[in-house]
């Protein structure tokens, strides 16, 4: 990496780009995780493509605005997010953000195993085999003891997220309707009601969540990026968002036939989505859909448990890097595996309402975002640690708009739960 930095020329810059991309793509495709893909699937099945195609693009723009700041923070301070909050604001506020992260990560990990279990269920794999296989793969990916090797293996698996694009093509979408939806944000069937708001908030939670802040900043620091590499980090983030948005839109388009044929997808899991789609997209398409769910859950299992390990190491001041051998990073690796194993065990509880858990977890992720974003905004505007890399005014305006939007979405969701009649009075269902 250092040699590529020293050389000039187009080839060297492309090589440097290849070496530096990773955290942004991983965080975005990692966030296209099991619950996210289930949310997108439920969106297409329940509301079709109308309002939601442009809305999902908007959520990815918000993700870029937020994640760009973590790149700058990681590259300039060489520290993870939890570490910075503790050092600059003290343990009182630090522990609040850590508790948010720990709870959010555990709940999200549960939903990843739900997606893996449900996806493999389509192929007749028993739940316990699915869950233990996922744990084994997680263990294998982390035992490389090299950040670089781990990152490239995970990137290769994450590329599987794009499998939803051929699935969408197999559903033979009406491209005229897709174009109309993107341009007009219409139609929005059913109007403004509680179900719509739950899906809106779940789709936001499918794109911007607190673990992403912790992961990308820590991964940027662990990778050894410096302030000279921030531009590459931005490219990495935008590329990741574009790939993830393509997969998300494809998932909504793929499940839209269920909406068109008025199928009730209320309590569908990944396997049922695949089964219900089979008459429309064939056995191959349904199998790809189920495999996509497994991949989405697997990549997120790896990245989310890693974000827990990073945050623990930063706060407990223990060695925390994927470059560490097991002996030197015992506490870091232990936290990683214990979190994943506990979440895996939770999923095996019989009778758990899996889809409901998935949607609720996404909603919680959105609710936890505004406090996390405020810390991020304070840090990225801290001239003492950022120097000339503090956020420009336009970036602050965009980030503040994201905080206001997320808080507003949360409040609207709260109103829809406490006083659903308000929306009925406004003309919704």
């Amino acid at each position: 990496m250092q040699a590529a930095r020293r050389r000039g020329g187009v080839f060297s810059r492309l090589r440097l780009l290849w070496l530096l991309v990773g955290p942004g793509i991983l965080v975005m495709l990692g966030e296209n995780d099991g619950p996210s893909m289930l949310s997108y699937a439920a969106t297409g099945a329940k509301f079709g493509i109308g309002f939601f195609l442009p809305f999902i693009i908007l959520t990815f723009v918000m993700a870029i605005v937020v994640q760009e700041m973590t790149v700058r923070l990681g590259a300039v301070t060489h520290r993870g997010h939890a570490e910075l909050i503790f050092e600059r604001f003290g343990p009182f506020w630090g522990w609040f953000s850590m508790i948010d992260l720990a709870i959010g990560n555990f709940l999200t990990l549960v939903t990843e195993f739900i997606a893996i279990r449900a996806g493999l269920g389509f192929f007749g794999v028993p739940p316990w085999v699915a869950v233990f296989s996922a744990l084994g793969l997680l263990y294998a990916a982390l035992m490389t003891h090299r950040y670089w090797t781990w990152e490239r293996i995970t990137l290769a698996i994450a590329a599987g997220n794009l499998v939803f694009i051929p699935v969408a093509l197999l559903s033979h979408p009406d491209w005229h309707s897709v174009g109309y939806a993107l341009a007009s944000w219409q139609p929005l069937p059913g109007g403004l009601n509680r179900d719509l708001l739950l899906i809106v908030v779940a789709d936001i939670g499918a794109t911007v969540t607190p673990w992403m802040l912790f992961f990308q900043q820590s991964a940027t620091a662990d990778k050894g990026m410096t302030r000279h590499d921030v531009g590459f980090g931005h490219f990495d983030t935008v590329l990741g968002a574009a790939l993830a948005a393509a997969a998300a839109l494809a998932t909504v388009i793929a499940t839209a036939p269920l909406f068109i044929h008025h199928m009730n997808a209320e309590n569908f899991q990944a396997a049922q989505f695949a089964q219900a789609l089979q008459p429309h997209i064939g056995r191959l398409g349904a199998s790809l859909f189920a495999l996509g769910m497994v991949e989405a859950g697997m990549v997120a299992c790896v990245t989310i448990s890693l974000s827990s390990g990073y945050a623990f190491g930063e706060v407990a001041r223990r060695p925390h890097s994927l470059n560490l051998p097991l002996r030197e990073g015992k506490a870091f690796y232990t936290v990683l595996f214990v979190c994943a194993a506990a979440a895996a065990a939770f999923v095996l509880i019989p009778g758990l309402p899996l889809v409901y858990v998935v949607l609720v977890v996404n909603v919680i992720a959105v609710l936890a975002m505004p406090p996390a974003l405020l810390f991020l905004l304070l840090l990225v505007n801290d001239r003492e640690i950022m120097g000339s890399a503090v956020s420009p005014r336009w970036a602050n305006l965009l980030a503040t708009a994201v905080v206001v939007f997320l808080t507003g979405a949360g409040i609207l969701f709260g109103v829809s739960v406490i006083a659903p009649n308000v929306f009925a009075a406004l003309g919704g269902g």
Binding site: Q2, E87, P370, L374
Partner: protein
Amino acid sequence: MARNHNTGGLDSAEAYLVLSSLEQDQLAQARQQSLPRRPLKRVEVFLLSSLRLYLLFMLAVVVYQVWTGAH
């Protein structure tokens, strides 16, 4: 090439090469130095506390929704 006493008698190209090669060590060293505490302003404490209350309230709403859904 001009030699500089500040860089141990190395010329600028040599100094850059040495500094770049040591980059990983410099990053590790930078991480070891702890940052000074930044006292929060009153308005920042107010905003953080408000958002904390918002989060707690909204989590109660989610619990209520799960409870009503279960019944």
